[in-house]
């Protein structure tokens, strides 16, 4: 796999700086030996008890009674908890509308109705199956269509608009209307939800939680236990994958453990079986997009009206921000002079959908890319050219429907480079020939761009803290509010810290994220981890450095400009002192060797009333070309080639960034291709395991898979070492893969312009190919 060499060299002039080096994940050595500890691997404290949930087998109904007698009598059971015994029952990240256990009514299939405490995980699970409930069934609202019809919403619709879309569409020379169904996605983090609570003394508790948001777990546990937040410490060393699925969904488990720990004064652990995890926790929102667009004969968009309805599930969770982000990305890289994007928050009797890499952005982006593809197919133009002619420009046509002026636009450069690198035009010709020569096999090719806004759209979350400590031996300890879920945040921030002190990264230890080290942190989400925590950690380093420099100035009687931190030494004029000796000296001279650091993202502002402002500090860009072959007799297809060019600014760590791009792309491909969630009419989720829910496997890796970081660029804004966020944007590169399938279907039959939904399962592709129209 090619790490881009030019990225390595691009090191801001410092020859030996660790910033920009393709260093391996800090836990890699432990990962491959199986010695990296996840929560279920921590040796259980003596007397640990285990929790399992009893789940509702009805999607909507009134609870008449819950019978826990058999469960209580079962082997190894200590107690069974139901909602009525919980004083502070309601939790939730924004609105407290989620009961820890269902009370009076059940609102989705798989909702927890009781929690069993037993000697072992297995005994708790067995006993949980003995809990029965008498539930008077009510008609569930399962689908988006049902919710829209019943006007079942969690909040008012959100409208982002500019210009006058209605009359622009009407006066355009061409119009197109359509509808696109966009499926949801199960996170399928390999490590399921898990937490352990350990009571200590004086109503204090330590909780290990597999969460992207230790602070929220802390606050919710303090709320349900009715103790101050300072009594609860939440620790997260690492997650076995998060992807947004542990941003809010980790809290319920931790709260139940804490409630049982408070009652029993014993450590309590809960981990969800895969099936329970898939039933109980939220997924990526599925959407229905209904659109009307007006465009000229060259495919230039004059106006769009689009309704985006999202299945949010039974509670609000983060759906407001997710639907907002979908609307903010319904333009993608295109200037739309007249746009009306309306988002609906459908309340349904399904698990509460939640954050998932991209956070609504992918759905908005898929909707607009589908529209552009259909415009091109309607006009018989190459979709690439229609895309190009609609791109945002640099000095004009550069304002989004939410009024943000795009100042850092590089989408044309990225497109030109990728089109050339991928031989798009010659491949287009080869594909046309192949399709002429083959009756049953058809190929498709597609290009799609990504422009993704970086910052939490919830303003106050754009802040971070860090704590850096140097010990007497010169070893450095780094804590910040970010959590490690595999994305390489810890190594990136360690590189930032090592760079400031001019030392090797191996000197910096990043340990578990703890609410006792850095308080009031934001979730590790919105791709913001290294932007926020990198800056906060750097600030902490600068404060310590300032102490050290002041000390050196005085001690060595040197000027500030003569003091340098490099090669693990302190250079004072021509005198070289090893870093550890210097630190030891500083300690003896009573220099403060630790500091916090704080950062808040500048420039951003947004008015929710008008849906106007600058929600994003900057944008990340990328583009992808995909080629696919489709079997018209079966609907099966195979992805043949993928070419990616992606913008990460000046990379902090190209190896980590390439990993995020490749992994994000494949995860997006899974969302749009093989991953299909299915419910029955009664609202029961049918895809509750890996045998029925198919995430990409090894053979889905395309044979040609060229991934490149855009070289020689840096962030237009002043981010940490001019880098850019990379967590989410690459997921949306996979839209080109879905488009290539759509293109193959169109190539099989040029009448076939609409009809493909997402995910493009083989069955769906088959019926799309064989549409009786």
């Amino acid at each position: 796999m090619g790490v881009n060499i030019s990225q390595k060299a691009q090191n801001l002039g410092q020859t030996k700086s660790p910033v920009g080096l393709p260093l391996q994940h800090d836990s890699a050595r432990m990962h491959v030996q199986g010695s990296a500890q996840y929560i279920d691997d921590i040796a259980e404290p003596n007397g640990t008890l285990h929790v399992a949930f009893a789940l509702s087998n009805v999607a909507h109904g009134k609870i008449q009674s819950i019978n826990v007698d058999d469960a209580k009598k079962a082997q190894g059971v200590h107690s069974v908890l139901i909602a009525e015994e919980i004083e502070h029952l309601l939790i939730g990240p924004i609105r407290h509308d989620e009961p820890i256990l269902a009370s009076k009514e059940v609102l989705f299939f798989g909702q927890a109705i009781a929690a069993v405490l037993a000697d072992s995980h297995d005994l708790a699970k067995k006993a949980a199956l003995l809990v029965s409930a008498e539930i008077e069934e009510l008609k569930p609202i399962v689908t988006i269509q049902q919710a829209m019809k019943a006007k079942s919403f969690l909040d008012d619709p959100i409208v982002v608009s500019s210009g006058d879309s209605k009359s622009a569409i009407k006066s355009a020379s061409n119009q197109l209307t359509g509808s696109l169904e966009i499926g949801g996605q199960e996170h399928y983090y390999l490590e399921g939800q898990v937490a352990i609570s350990i009571p200590t003394e004086d109503n204090e508790m330590v909780i290990h939680s597999s969460t992207q948001n230790p602070t929220e777990v802390q606050h919710l546990v303090s709320h349900v236990l009715n103790v101050p937040q300072n009594a609860i410490e939440v620790v997260t060393r690492r997650m076995g994958g998060g992807f947004g699925g542990k941003e809010t969904d980790a809290s319920q488990l931790a709260c139940v453990c804490a409630i049982f720990s408070e009652k029993t004064k014993r450590p309590v652990k809960a981990r969800l079986s895969r099936k329970d995890d898939m039933l109980l926790t939220g997924k990526r929102h599925d959407f229905v997009a209904n659109y009307e667009v007006g465009f000229d004969d060259q495919g230039l968009i004059k106006g769009i009206t689009m309704d985006l309805a999202a299945r949010c599930g039974y509670s609000l969770d983060l759906s407001m921000a997710i639907v907002s982000r979908a609307l903010f990305h319904s333009d993608n890289a295109y200037f739309i002079p007249n746009a009306t994007f309306t988002g609906y928050l459908c309340k349904t009797n399904t698990a509460s959908n939640t954050a998932f890499r991209g956070f609504g952005g992918p759905q908005g982006m898929l909707a607009i890319e589908n529209i552009v593809e259909e415009i091109a197919n309607t006009l018989g133009l190459d979709p690439l050219e229609v895309r190009r002619s609609n791109f945002y420009q640099k000095n004009e046509n550069n304002v989004t429907p939410y009024s943000q002026v795009i100042e850092d636009n590089i989408i044309s450069e990225i497109t030109d480079e990728l089109i050339s690198d991928s031989n798009y035009h010659s491949r287009r010709k080869e594909i046309d020939k192949f399709n002429k020569d083959n009756r049953y096999l058809k190929k498709g090719l597609a290009f799609s761009p990504v422009k993704f806004g970086i910052s939490f759209t919830t303003q106050f979350l754009n802040q971070a803290g860090a704590l850096v400590s140097i010990y007497k031996d010169g070893s450095i300890h780094l804590n910040h509010g970010g959590t490690e879920m595999g994305q390489g945040l810890f190594i990136k921030v360690a590189q930032v810290v090592a760079n400031e002190f001019g030392v090797d990264v191996s000197r910096v230890k990043v340990s578990a994220t703890s609410t006792a080290k850095v308080p009031n942190t934001s979730p590790t989400a919105a791709s913001s981890g290294s932007d926020l925590n990198g800056m906060a950690a750097r600030e902490a380093c600068l404060r310590i450095k300032s102490n050290l420099i002041n000390f050196a100035k005085e001690y060595f009687d040197a000027s500030e400009s003569a003091i340098k931190f490099e090669d693990s030494t302190i250079l004072v004029d021509k005198k070289q002192i090893p870093f550890d000796e210097f630190i030891s000296l500083a300690y003896l001279n009573r220099v403060e060797l630790f500091s916090n650091g704080f950062y808040k993202t500048p420039k951003i502002h947004f008015d929710p009333a008008t849906q106007k402002g600058r929600p994003f500090f900057y944008y990340s860009y990328g583009a992808c070309v995909s080629e696919v072959i489709v079997d018209c007799l079966t609907g099966e297809y195979k992805l043949l080639a993928v070419d990616i060019l992606h913008d990460v600014g000046a990379s902090l760590n190209p190896a980590i960034d390439i990993g995020q791009i490749v992994g994000g792309y494949i995860q997006g491909m899974g969302w749009l291709c093989s991953e299909e969630l299915k419910w029955n009419d009664s609202g029961a989720l049918l895809t509750t395991g890996a045998s029925t829910y198919k995430i990409p496997a090894i053979g889905d890796t395309p044979e040609r898979f060229e991934v490149k970081i855009k070289p020689h660029i840096s962030n237009h804004e002043n981010t940490i070492h001019k880098s850019k966020a990379v967590g989410e944007p690459p997921l949306m590169l996979a839209i080109s893969t879905w488009l290539s399938i759509k293109n193959a279907i169109f190539n099989a039959n040029n009448e076939n312009i609409s009809g493909l939904n997402a995910p493009a399962s083989f069955e769906q592709v088959f019926f799309s190919l064989n549409k009786s129209s």
Binding site: A28, R274, L441, A690
Partner: protein, 493 residues
Amino acid sequence: MSILLNQSYVPFDLGEINPNTTVLEWLRSNQLVGTKEGCASGDCGACTAVVGELVNINNKDLIQYKSINTCIALAYTLIGKHLITVEGLSEGEDLHPVQKSMITENGSQCGFCTPGFVMSLFALYHNEKSLDSTKINDALSGNLCRCTGYKPIISAAYKSFREKEKGQLDFYERNQSEFVEALNGLKNQKNINLRFNDGNKTLLFDAPSNLNDLSELLSENPSANILAAGTDLNLEITQSKNEFSHIVSVNRVSELKQINEQDSEIEIGAAVSYEEAKSVLVKNWPDLDSFLERFASLPIKNWATIGGNIANASPIGDMAPVLIALESKLKLRKGVSSRIIVLEDFFVSYKKTLLEPSEFIESIVIPMPSNGERLITHKISKRYEDDISAVCMAINVKGIESSSLSVKIGMGGMSGIPQRATELEKVFKESWAKDELLEAAYEALNREFSPFTDVRASAEYRLKVSAGLAKKSSLMLQGYAVEDLAHFSESKS
């Protein structure tokens, strides 16, 4: 009740455990927590470990190492075998080449699936002399990674083989003779009859070593659960949380592990695993090479048995349609008596077979292919690797050169049982080379089958795609290049 564990030659006693305990549970309760639970159903590979068994090849004792899913294998089925987990690879600070390659190629992100990948790569490293993409895909077909997108793991596989080519032997290769000796020392554990009292009741686990003992045991205990590999049965334990009170394992019965290749037929013992049967099957029916690749993940094929797959009677088990198309028979045994049944008659209704209490499958008998016979197989699933069929079709055609064409078609996923498609056979025989085959096949299928709609496919798709598969088969017989896309490669074409 001992096994060999990792780098030690000293037998390790499994201890007094409930016979329903899986290998994974046993490992994790013995502080070997590097092996992870991702799904507890053999679908994700986070629990992958490697099992070594003694084999005798050309009068030489060797150990064959293979990857398995520890989450659905029972601990007691490892007795007398060598279990290697992720903790057993490095030698002190010195990592195994597959571990080193995973680090340098950035093959781990969150790290949770990594031990499973490392173990699959270790088995690959151990078993193969050279590498290509097909071997990598097969070796890693049972490992899911949600972070990396697999590309760096594929690079790691190639990189580790560059180390191997330098002649570097790992611990288990260097010390094979010691492990052979140690495993020979465990051979005295012949008939296994274990009793476990959980405080309330006694649970039984029997693993006889020969056919007579097995049939006697089952005659005396008609309600005992017969365990082959348990890749399906053990889901009752891990997913439904049931407990078996009496398990009779057939995996030590030597007669059931034989393959007899004769002039007119091949007889495969019921406890032969898919990987063990692969070479003889592929030799006689080359089309089965790619079919078996998609049949299941490698850890499942390493463990699962053909007899278990048939006795389990799943309508979506992929081997039954193939064996029906090949006109296979089953040899059943009960007590001292045996009977022969034509396979297509064996399946009665959903999960019901002709097996009587105490009766079991002894072997599967497949007639040798005749000259010019052509077997074509298709599988439709949501994903190419490690997935259950929506539809499986096997068409066996004889006499294509002559006027007397004979067609046998077996289908899976189209009804409650694996079933012969007699109507489709007639249509195919008549119009296989004609343009109207597609429509005619659909009508024939529609007459004979009323498939169900479920998570894998709708009834309509099952019917229509089956007609498409019949058409594809006819095109293949006519020599057109319309092979299944699962194995399509630009570099090969």
